[in-house]
């Protein structure tokens, strides 16, 4: 079954028939995790890097922020039996506008906070497609465990 992950949203799955998709990541960051042994995976779409300036929002919707969202996602897949040393992590998004003053650096910051949170959790990024000014659609196939990026009608494996 196809599950659309909206902006500031997370979907966790342990079903082989599931396909998780998130559309048009701009500066937002999308992270997929997958454990091939227990077939547990997740896809998150976070909008902003850090939650600390927005305590009420991060309580009501932790997935809006990379720090609280990715942490929540990892906890959720571990609860379903995924193991850290088997987890395949892929990252996409974090694009930027053409901004000479570098004032709108949300994409870059989303990516650097993602790396930091993953590093703190002893996780390495297996593959990534980040930066530039492309909008990206990310798909996690729970049957194959493959993460793909869709662009101009074509799907490319990450």
């Amino acid at each position: 079954m196809m599950h659309t992950v909206g902006i500031s949203d997370l979907y966790i799955s342990d079903k082989k028939e599931d396909i998780l998709v998130t559309y048009s990541l701009g500066s937002c960051i999308g992270v997929t995790v997958f454990d091939p042994v227990v077939h547990v995976g997740a896809l998150i779409h976070c909008m902003l890097p850090l939650s600390k300036m927005y305590p009420d929002k991060s309580n009501s919707n932790p997935c809006m922020f990379v720090d609280t969202g990715v942490t929540k996602m990892l906890q959720a897949v571990y609860d379903l039996g995924a193991k850290r040393d088997r987890l395949i992590v892929k990252v996409a998004g974090g694009a930027s506008l053409l901004d000479k003053k570098r004032m709108f650096r949300i994409g870059e910051r989303n990516y650097s906070v993602t790396r930091k949170i993953l590093w703190k959790n002893n996780l390495l990024i297996a593959a990534e497609d980040v930066g530039g000014s492309k909008s990206r659609t990310v798909i996690l196939n729970m049957n194959t465990g493959k993460t793909t990026i869709k662009n101009k009608g074509q799907e490319v494996e990450l």
Binding site: M47, L97, L98
Partner: protein, 282 residues
């Protein structure tokens, strides 16, 4: 005939702005508007009345009791808001369609347009700038040229994107190279055809290049920044992605910072569906 001429030539065949919109906006611009006259105009367009009431009763305005008549809507929302709702109600159903070339699904352009309208007003509020006249409407209409190019003409954006990637230029610049015209100018020509005020035409035309505006326009700078925030948030972002310039001049004049940008993104994200989902057909 050049591609530009083909495109501008087709503008005439695009459904006209409902006549009722012009009449209503004119009536609502008079502070002593007679409600009887409004009802007379609206009685020939029941769909319009339904859409206005749907908007007035949306979660966005959060009234505790139902708004049942247009007169009630005006007394609760005021004339300025009402004028904006008239435009929103008229344009909503038209902007639902998918943009083929831009790979924007049905409803995507509409969500983006509503987001920019909301973000424009929110930015003014955060910056303590009095909300300029027609700010919401200007945000709502800024990308209407994409509807023309993506829905009616179905331009092939593949060579445009190729140029963006090869030359590392903004999407609107590549549109001008390939088509001889960009979506901003196409939109402004359509709004002109619809007899909308020059200020709205101007915002649409220059929303990717506010520095080209002869006089400093607060609403234009706000829409430019609101558009940038909405593109970053990925609300209705298409194939063109984030390949647009942020104007140094606009961000020099409007004193924004990362906190204001993020707060605006959070607010817009939360509120956009309250209005955007009202006209969804499926």
């Amino acid at each position: 005939m050049s591609l530009r001429e083909t495109i501008t030539g087709q503008l005439g065949s695009i459904s006209a702005m409902p006549v009722v919109v012009g009449k209503l906006r004119q009536l609502l611009s008079n502070p002593d508007v007679e409600f009887r006259k409004l009802s007379e105009v609206l009685k020939y367009d029941p769909g319009m009345t339904t859409n206005i009431l749907r908007l007035a009763n949306s979660a966005y305005f959060g009234f505790r009791t139902q708004v049942n008549t247009v007169t009630q809507a005006i007394s609760r929302l005021g004339l300025k808001r009402m004028s904006e709702l008239v435009m929103t109600a008229a344009i909503g159903p038209i902007m639902q369609r998918p943009l083929k070339g831009y790979e924007v699904p049905a409803g995507g352009l509409w969500r983006h347009s509503i987001a920019v309208a909301i973000a424009t007003e929110h930015l003014a509020g955060q910056l303590n700038i009095p909300v300029p006249e027609d700010a919401f409407t200007a945000g709502l209409l800024h990308d209407i040229g994409k509807m023309v190019l993506g829905t009616f003409i179905e331009v092939d954006t593949v060579p445009i994107m190729k140029l963006v990637e090869e030359k590392k230029i903004p999407f609107d610049e590549a549109e001008r190279e390939i088509l001889g015209i960009d979506h901003a100018e196409v939109g402004s020509l359509l709004l002109k055809k619809w007899n909308l005020p020059e200020s709205l035409v101007n915002v649409t035309r220059l929303h990717h290049a506010p520095h080209l505006c002869e006089e400093n326009s607060v609403v234009l700078n706000l829409v430019h920044i609101a558009d940038s925030i909405s593109l970053m948030s990925g609300i209705g972002t298409g194939q063109d992605g984030l390949a647009y310039n942020i104007s140094k001049e606009a961000t020099d004049i409007i004193p924004i910072n990362i906190k204001i940008i993020e707060t605006c993104a959070v607010y817009t994200m939360q509120r956009v569906s309250e209005l955007s989902e009202l006209f969804e057909t499926n």
